[in-house]
């Protein structure tokens, strides 16, 4: 049988939301809420702030659902980008540029074990291999920024490196990553 499971398909639910279909946003929230809230918590390390970020993100999702283009990417990635941006905006508003020694940082693994969790899907596998080929601190900086929402200054404090060095490393790491994934 062809694929006719809109309940399980975030892209279809986004179409439904764009057309004002009652219940579509709730179904999307039920299906994706825990995944997206987990991302916001990882960035903000504060459940109340993460709830604020997810609240703002869901309102954006509701009003921008019509802009999602299934040809340009996965719906799950589109949703994640909106939630990450909402969480990062909040983190910035909370004064992220100050280097901190946040003791709760690093509760979740960001190193080797985290990479193991990258799904076996081909795209994830390639990203994992390319990240593994980077220098360890370079890789750690990229993961701390992307998964945990750390600023350059916070990464520098955590890795005990000068700010300029961290900025240059991350930039170089991204260029290598792009080359490796190409």
């Amino acid at each position: 049988m062809p694929d006719t499971q809109p309940g399980a398909d975030a892209a279809l639910l986004l179409r439904g939301i764009a057309a004002g279909e009652a219940g579509a946003l709730r179904r999307l929230y039920d299906a994706q809420g825990a995944r997206l809230f987990g991302m916001a918590v990882a960035i903000l390390r504060d459940r109340d702030a993460a709830a604020d970020a997810l609240h703002d993100a869901v309102l954006k999702i509701a009003s921008r659902a019509g802009q999602f283009d299934p040809l340009r990417g996965e719906a799950s990635a589109w949703l994640a980008a909106i939630v990450r941006n909402a969480a990062l905006d909040l983190a910035r508003a909370r004064g992220r540029e100050t280097p901190t020694d946040d003791p709760t940082l690093g509760d979740s693994p960001v190193e080797a074990e985290a990479l193991e969790r990258l799904a076996a899907a081909q795209q994830s596998g390639r990203l994992r291999d390319c990240l593994a080929a980077l220098e360890a601190r370079n890789r750690e900086g990229i993961l701390l920024a992307f998964v945990h929402g750390l600023s350059h200054a916070q990464i520098a404090a955590r890795l005990e490196l000068p700010l300029g060095t961290v900025k240059a490393w991350i930039r170089r790491g991204l260029v290598r990553l792009k080359g490796c994934l190409a």
Binding site: F37, L54, S63, P70, V110, A119, L143, I170, R171
Partner: protein, 227 residues
């Protein structure tokens, strides 16, 4: 300032997606995105590259009261007015019987000799009940209702198609009374992945050329395997 040099532009896009831009830089990028196609493309490419990393964060159930807060905020916005779709009890009874009917029709299509790649879908209600069988045929579409039910008085049902990659659905016309409808070839080229939906609209159809009412039924055209 958004750099014009492509290497610097790509570096900016990468750090925007990574999240390391400061508040001012991030705001500049967000403002430029809608009017800067090269920047938008670079950001989309980096989002695709790094997307799997987002799922390294362990999922956590959001606080139970959060949905209520979201609903309250949505209710405060005028554009969020939607007409709820409430299938009646009779409709539910029809639906139950129709699942077997849908399976039978699908098997019938599968067993027919195919001279062209077959595509079909079953349009479902918001409750995942099968409602219409849609089959691509000689460049057009043929629709058969799996459970005819009366249309809400004073409203009509309008058929739409959204080809993959298109940003706006194309109207394929109003669904006539009775359980059958067909779309002539040329109006839209059926292709795998095309969304097909039926919305509830005012008499004469949507006045805006875009769906304005709730989606009654929706499905995605897919090749019939094994034909």
């Amino acid at each position: 300032m958004i750099p014009s040099d492509s290497e610097a532009l790509d570096a900016l896009a990468a750090e925007h997606v990574l999240g390391t831009l400061d508040a001012r830089e991030a705001r500049e990028v967000s403002r430029a995105l809608p009017t800067h196609p090269a920047l938008r493309e670079a950001v989309a490419a980096w989002e695709a590259r790094l997307a799997p990393l987002a799922d390294l964060a362990p999922p956590q159930a959001p606080p139970p009261e959060l949905w209520g807060r979201i609903e309250a905020s949505l209710g405060a916005r005028p554009e969020a007015v939607v007409t709820p779709l409430r299938p009646g009890r009779l409709w539910k009874a029809w639906s139950l019987g129709s699942t077997a009917l849908a399976a039978g029709l699908a098997a019938f299509i599968l067993l027919r000799p195919a001279e062209e790649p077959r595509m079909m879908t079953v349009l479902l209600t918001s409750g995942d009940q099968p409602a219409w069988l849609v089959e691509a045929e000689r460049g057009g579409l043929r629709l058969a209702s799996l459970n005819p039910r009366p249309v809400e008085p004073g409203r009509v049902q309008q058929l739409w198609a959204l080809p993959p990659g298109a940003t706006a659905p194309v109207s394929l016309g109003l669904i006539p009374e009775g359980g059958q409808a067909s779309v002539a070839p040329g109006l839209v080229r059926p292709e795998p992945g095309m969304l097909i939906e039926i919305t509830l609209e005012p008499p004469g159809g949507s006045p805006t050329g875009r769906p304005t009412g709730p989606i009654l039924f929706i499905g995605r055209l897919a090749p019939v395997r094994g034909s």
